[in-house]
Symmetry: C2
Subunit: 191 residues, 2 copies
DNA sequence: GCATTTGCCTACGCGCCGTAGGTAGACGAC
DNA sequence: GTCGTCTACCTACGGCGCGTAGGCAAATGC
């Protein structure tokens, strides 16, 4: 029998494709083995099990989104940067629903440490830089932006906007307008 | 053997407790049967299977949150209503993480129709009424509010704010300030 | 008190998980 | 080149959750 040339990297990429086709729950050692024309127990030589596999997909997805967001916002500031950042997240989730779902898994601490999570925070901060908010206000703004983009993406992916009237895209533009306006006039807390 | 007095209602409540203790994936016919001191196949007399069980928990959770939010915002308007609405969601998710998670399941169309989903939309609309936005701007604002609250809740539950410096509560207050300010000065789109 | 309905049971087959232990391909030593 | 050694992949197995089939006994109707 020839060797299949497996390793954790190949398994992770294949598992990510599986997730995009069949959802996060579709990440299964058995399904992965079928896809790679290998028997399931062989996979345990490369990953410790189902849990690790999913975490690896999550880490991959976080890195890929960070890459895309980074490219999307490069050279932009203000409203255009907000739009580009949100759009990058939305587009990635639409193109790779399974990976996006993996993104919402709670990561083990040691995994989280090597993930692109902090990069996402830095990207949001970079986008907000043009609004020149002083700390701790910038952190509050980063959190608002993060929550809104994430919530929007999840709702859109779940079809929450598909059945009601105004187009999701139209609403998105107004939301970006709103956030831009808000960050522009963001003030320190009332005493 | 005495009868256990099971029905779909009892099963759903028990499954919801199970979810809060062990996560959404902890909703298992086998675990539910153990908890009810019954054998697993007996449960199929009351629910069609695992999928229906989870959907029932989701419907229950949606109804419970809508109840809480409704009580929380009663008699309030403006910033206080925004704060109360968000807090009701956050508190519910913190107290019932499994049920909250169930809330994010995509529901079958017929299940969605009998769920409290529309009630949530009406509550958001009611909270925004005091800002007197004309359509379609109110719808955009409802979506922004929904996305932000949902994203915030998920991030907080996932521990996203626990490891970094400013308190989640402090940020939340500033976010509510921001949303209040935004909705107050919300304008029609530039031509 | 008997028939029917209904609730819970045992028995079973399937699929996925993860472990144990075996075998054969790749690879360096000489 | 042949001989270990390592490593990649294998078969075999036990465990558990799902869901179906079919049986018996408790509740219910007449």
């Amino acid at each position: 029998m020839p060797r299949a040339g497996l390793n954790a990297e190949v398994l992770t990429r294949s598992a990510a494709e599986l997730a995009d086709e069949a959802g996060l729950a579709g990440i299964t050692l058995a399904a992965l083995a079928r896809r790679l024309h290998v028997k399931a127990p062989s996979l345990y030589a490369h990953v410790s099990g189902n849990r690790e596999l999913k975490q690896r997909v999550a880490v991959l997805a976080l890195a890929e989104t960070a890459d895309r967001v980074g490219e999307a916002v490069a050279g932009l500031s203000g409203r255009a940067a907000l739009d580009a950042l949100g759009r990058a997240y939305r587009d990635y989730a639409a193109a790779h629903p399974g990976r996006h779902q993996a993104t919402t898994l709670p990561l083990d601490d040691d995994v989280a440490r090597v993930s692109a999570g902090p990069r996402h925070a830095r990207l949001a901060r970079a986008v907000l830089r043009s609004y020149a908010l002083a700390e701790p206000e910038e952190t509050h703004a980063v959190r608002l932006l993060g929550a809104t983009v994430r919530g929007w993406t999840d709702l859109e992916l779940a079809g929450g906007f598909a059945r009601s009237k105004p187009d999701a895209e139209e609403s998105w533009q107004r939301v970006v307008d709103g956030l831009d306006q808000l960050f522009t006039s963001w003030t320190a807390p009332a005493p």
